[in-house]
């Protein structure tokens, strides 16, 4: 670990520090792009990043899993459609639905994989303007009680990077009504709807709050000098949230 990759929060250099033992898996498919950034975000919040290969079926006792962004299988067929049937995804789906409720975060292509897996409802289609879009995007935290959002304030506005082509969230009206009524919209777009997503939805959670998916990229906004406006660290809360959740669960 180089000096620039020391944890940004707290000091976990002392052995037996509680968070030191947290193991966060980051899965890699053919065509995944952001696994390294996601793993780096995990390390910078003081946890251990564990690389998971799509074709393996051993979850290696991880405490949580991140499904990162990219273009798994080149987005062939539908974004996330082929990755969803990888052996490692079977394990993740079972663990997310089990009593242990493994925390799972899907970012961008990871969100698409979670909807294809039916861990989250709805689906993503091409942006309504048909263009690939990359911008700093303002989001509102609509639910701060999930495993991945508990370190944000309810209603807090954060700015992180949005970059995708198939980012338009769609679901039938009944599903959208249920998501809103049950507080399962985790993030909404603020100021401008960048892709035509129904009800300005940027991210959602499952009923239990352990599975969260969103299109924008918190792992690119964890460190000053990079990310939105070269100052933004608004994405850090995702990674501190899951550690807080895991520590709470061990009490």
């Amino acid at each position: 670990m180089s000096a620039t990759e020391l944890p940004l929060i707290g000091d976990y250099s002392t052995p037996n520090t509680e968070l030191n033992g947290a193991r966060i898996g980051v899965i890699t498919f053919p065509g995944t792009l952001d696994d390294r950034d996601a793993a780096r975000a995990v390390r910078m919040t003081g946890a251990e990043a564990v690389s998971l290969w799509h074709a393996d079926n051993d979850l290696q006792n991880v405490d949580a899993v991140i499904i990162p962004g990219g273009f798994s299988y080149g987005d062939y067929l539908r974004a996330g459609a082929i990755a969803r049937f990888a052996p490692m995804m079977d394990k993740i789906i079972d663990a997310a639905n089990s009593d242990a409720k493994l925390p799972v975060l899907g970012i961008c292509n990871g969100f698409q994989i979670l909807t294809e897996s039916h861990l989250l409802p709805g689906s993503m289609i091409k942006n309504d303007h048909l263009k690939f879009l990359c911008r700093d995007q303002v989001l509102r935290v609509e639910n701060n009680s999930t495993a991945w959002t508990n370190q944000y304030a309810q209603g807090e506005e954060i700015t992180i990077v949005l970059k995708n082509q198939d980012g338009q969230y769609v679901a039938d009206e009944k599903t959208l009504d249920a998501l809103e009524a049950e507080g399962r919209v985790a993030f909404s777009y603020v100021g401008w709807n960048p892709n035509g997503s129904r009800r300005n939805i940027a991210g959602i959670t499952n009923a239990a709050g352990n599975v969260v998916g969103l299109m924008p990229h918190p792992e690119h906004a964890i460190e000053a000098g990079y990310g939105p406006d070269h100052t933004g660290t608004d994405g850090l809360g995702f990674f501190t949230s899951v550690l807080t959740h895991l520590v709470g669960g061990q009490k």
Partner: protein, 83 residues
Amino acid sequence: MPRIVVDVMPKPEILDPQGKAIVGALPRLGFTAFSQVRQGKRFELTVDGEVTEEILAQARTAAETLLSNPVIEDVVNVEVVAD
């Protein structure tokens, strides 16, 4: 060898951005008779040997699970085409 053709279309209530772009381009080429375009997908599954009822049933299941996403798409046709 016989093939099983599977046609998948976006659900009617789902906006089809690609179809919308195509319908915008048609008049530029002088094709003014078309008011709407929806773009779907056609899959051709080649079978080595005879297409039995069981193989056809497999194709239907594959169409519903992998080839289409029931949230946004409908399987509109599954048929056997002999060469």
